[in-house]
Symmetry: C2
Subunit: 166 residues, 2 copies
């Protein structure tokens, strides 16, 4: 899929520099959950909370249940959006940085030889998911980033290409 330029916001954009790239990568690396936007059965946008992590090779992943609505929707429409960046406990949440990422999902099978290593790496950053990670309906998905819109706070908007994100 190649829609890299079509979704640039019309807010005045700053030129993307190394500081913006680093902030985006820091947000991606720091968070343990994200908001996931998918298309529902009517083609309408729907948003849920998912776990989120980055593997040592940079692959962005989540662990989701096959029984969830978003799993079924992603199988029908793998193109999705992610909001990455925890809101602060105090202060205006709109003044704190967050990244809106456009991505495409791949489903990873529990039967894949890489599953065991992926499982062990995930548990290091998401220890609470030990409660359900071995349930047969839970599978990893990987996100291929397409482009992103970084909002570093008011007036600090940047468009990031796929190359800026990986």
């Amino acid at each position: 899929m190649n829609d890299e330029t079509a979704t640039q916001p019309s807010f005045p954009l700053r030129e993307t520099d190394d500081d913006a790239r680093q902030l985006a990568r820091q947000l991606i690396g720091d968070v343990r959950h994200a908001a996931l936007a998918v298309l529902d059965e009517n083609g309408a946008p729907a948003v849920t909370r998912i776990a989120f992590g980055v593997e040592s090779d940079g692959t962005m992943v989540s662990l989701i249940s096959d029984l969830s609505a978003h799993a079924k929707r992603l199988k029908a429409h793998p193109r999705c959006g992610l909001l990455i960046g925890d809101p602060p406990q105090k202060g205006d949440p709109l003044a704190f940085p967050r990244l809106s990422l456009a991505a495409e999902v791949r489903f990873l099978s529990r039967d894949d030889p890489s599953h065991s290593a992926r499982r062990d790496e995930w548990l290091k950053t998401h220890p609470k998911s030990a409660l359900y990670i071995d349930f047969s309906d839970f599978n990893f998905i990987a996100f291929t980033p397409l482009h992103g819109d970084l909002n570093g706070g008011f007036g600090k908007a940047y468009h990031l290409t796929r190359a800026d994100l990986i």
Copy 2:
């Protein structure tokens, strides 16, 4: 728009009771921001952070800039999704309650006679937005809820109709 039943998750649902309704309304009343999912220019889902509040008559509103990407997208496709419920500072974010709301947006004009009262009420819960609330590109939008999926933590999933939410 009437797509109230089509987006029920396939997770085992509990029967919606007064506790579920109350939890959903409590989440709606407590939060000061939300994740907003819209359709972008390619019909793909995109998610951003917005301010969120509820007026004394129960109307769910946000204050957004006309210059933002989501404002332009909502004007083209008023159907949107909201994720409501702050993630916890500690513990598994997936074990804490949140509401995925399907809604339709109406744009409210700054020139409307109700603007002044709405502005004053908003500032009581969102005092930091005094910095920009009077900029000419900032307008209120109202969300008409269509239906919701409440996730009260693992295994606690409920589908809520519009009547459950208002």
